[in-house]
């Protein structure tokens, strides 16, 4: 019995040595769908975990250029606050000044960048209450006078909890605890006699400028896999076939005559290892495909802003860019 698959044009096929049908057929004059109907475009939330910091959602029916734009915007164009200038008054530890300053910049801060203005170039490091956050780090390591406890030193490990926020102006009324996201990030190790005394200034920036300003731990997408069984596989072969895929993707189901048949349960979690091609007799039993217009996004925030707010912010950046260029076109055409 032949099977007609009308949706073959929007699936790419994973063969043993190649991937076929990857191109998008986007050249002018090709109008399979000039503007997709709005109801064919869907966004579905799958998972929100970790108090909103981890998000998994699906974009269905969209063009890969838009999905990629969202991913790129999340990584490089959504602003965050991070430490930019470090004034080191005392550093007798083993870590060099510049290495220490670099580490301070990478510490994720809880401050909401939307409450701050962009800092102008060339202004002094101290900054104003609208564009700078100031912290201070003062730690000195001493011998532990209490000989009985296991730790011979006091304050030998410098953690982010040692960072103290110095509120400027009216910041103490507007901000609640804009310090580091995690208290137990290890910054430096000291021994008795070592001292660290620094002032840290955090400003607003974007990931394009420096990766420390990226608001996401990472944001990525993958295409939704699809597994089609071409011929039924039973018993021992079926067990091998099920093992080829990520656990939970395929399953054995009992048939009427007591045998076990392999069946696809949910292809979504398959990691597309193409393991099935290692078995000569099972190669032709399945067809591995991916849906070209179904993007499974994973967005994990560093902690400043929830992932569910980061995605709309990324789209807002795109909207602002469009607005900017429309205005430029209009003003240029008036000249």
């Amino acid at each position: 019995m032949t099977e007609f698959s009308f949706s073959s044009k929007n699936k790419l096929t994973l063969k043993e040595f190649e991937i076929v049908n990857t191109s998008n057929y986007d050249f002018s004059g090709h109008f399979a769908d000039p503007h997709k109907q709005e109801n064919e475009l869907k966004v579905e939330i799958v998972k929100i975990e970790d108090d909103g910091m981890f998000l998994e959602f699906d974009m269905i029916g969209y063009d890969p250029s838009v999905a990629n734009a969202v991913r790129r915007l999340l990584l490089s164009d959504v602003p965050t606050m991070a430490i930019e200038k470090v004034h080191i008054y005392q550093n007798t530890s083993i870590m060099q000044d510049e290495v220490l300053a670099h580490r301070m910049g990478l510490i994720p801060l809880k401050a909401d960048p939307r409450l701050f203005k962009w800092k102008e170039e060339g202004t002094e490091d101290e900054g104003t209450e609208d564009d700078t956050l100031q912290f201070s780090l003062q730690v000195r390591c001493k011998h532990n006078p209490d000989k009985s406890s296991g730790d011979p030193y006091l304050d030998n490990k410098v953690f982010t909890k040692h960072l103290k926020w110095i509120p400027k102006g009216s910041q103490k009324d507007k901000l609640i605890n804009p310090g580091p996201v995690e208290d137990d990030i290890l910054i430096n190790k000291l021994r008795p006699g070592h001292e660290m005394d620094m002032k840290l200034f955090a400003v607003k920036g974007v990931g394009r400028d420096h990766a420390k300003f990226s608001p996401v731990a990472t944001a990525f997408y993958r295409l939704h896999p699809e597994i089609r069984i071409n011929r039924d596989v039973f018993d021992e072969s079926a067990i091998r076939l099920v093992k080829c895929f990520t656990p939970g993707v395929m399953q054995l189901e009992p048939t009427e005559d007591g045998r076990k048949k392999a069946k696809v349960l949910d292809a979504r979690n398959d990691m597309c290892s193409r393991n099935v091609f290692r078995h000569e007799d099972l190669k032709d039993a399945v067809t591995l495909e991916k849906r070209k217009d179904h993007f499974i996004f994973n967005v994990e925030s560093t902690g400043a802003i929830k992932s569910t707010e980061l995605v709309p912010m990324a789209i807002d950046v795109l909207l602002e860019k469009c607005e900017l260029y429309i205005n430029e076109i209009d003003s240029q055409s008036k000249e």
Partner: protein, 115 residues
């Protein structure tokens, strides 16, 4: 609440036309975008190709060390390339707004179902 886009230190226009390309008429143009990359380029190209009056649309980043993107548009007789570009931006804006609304609605529904 200040703008999400960082201020442009260099000033001037971020969009200009490639020199010497205006001789073939209004229907062919290469636009030069400063401080833009694939994020905007690929989206614009997709929107342009959906316009039936656009005969050619392509973008390139001439050198990765320079933050510049070129977008080439060729249209049918009588339809200026600038109109095609403006329409592409407007379409992209609509498309992105719809995406944002769908996303925000989906999050609200998900959170309502959770509680």
């Amino acid at each position: 609440m200040s703008s999400l886009l960082p201020p442009d230190k260099d000033g001037g226009n971020r969009l200009s036309v490639l020199e010497g390309d205006t001789s073939s008429g209004e229907e062919c143009r290469t636009y030069v975008f400063r401080k833009e990359n694939h994020t905007l380029g690929n989206c614009l190209r997709t929107m342009l190709l959906k316009n039936p009056q656009v005969q050619f649309a392509g973008y390139t980043i001439p050198h990765p060390s320079e933050d510049v993107m070129h977008l080439r548009i060729q249209t049918v007789e009588g339809y200026p390339a600038q109109s095609a570009l403006r329409k592409a931006f407007v379409d992209l804006k609509t498309h992105a707004s719809q995406l944002k609304t769908k996303f925000v609605t989906a999050v609200d529904n998900f959170e309502k179902e959770e509680s």
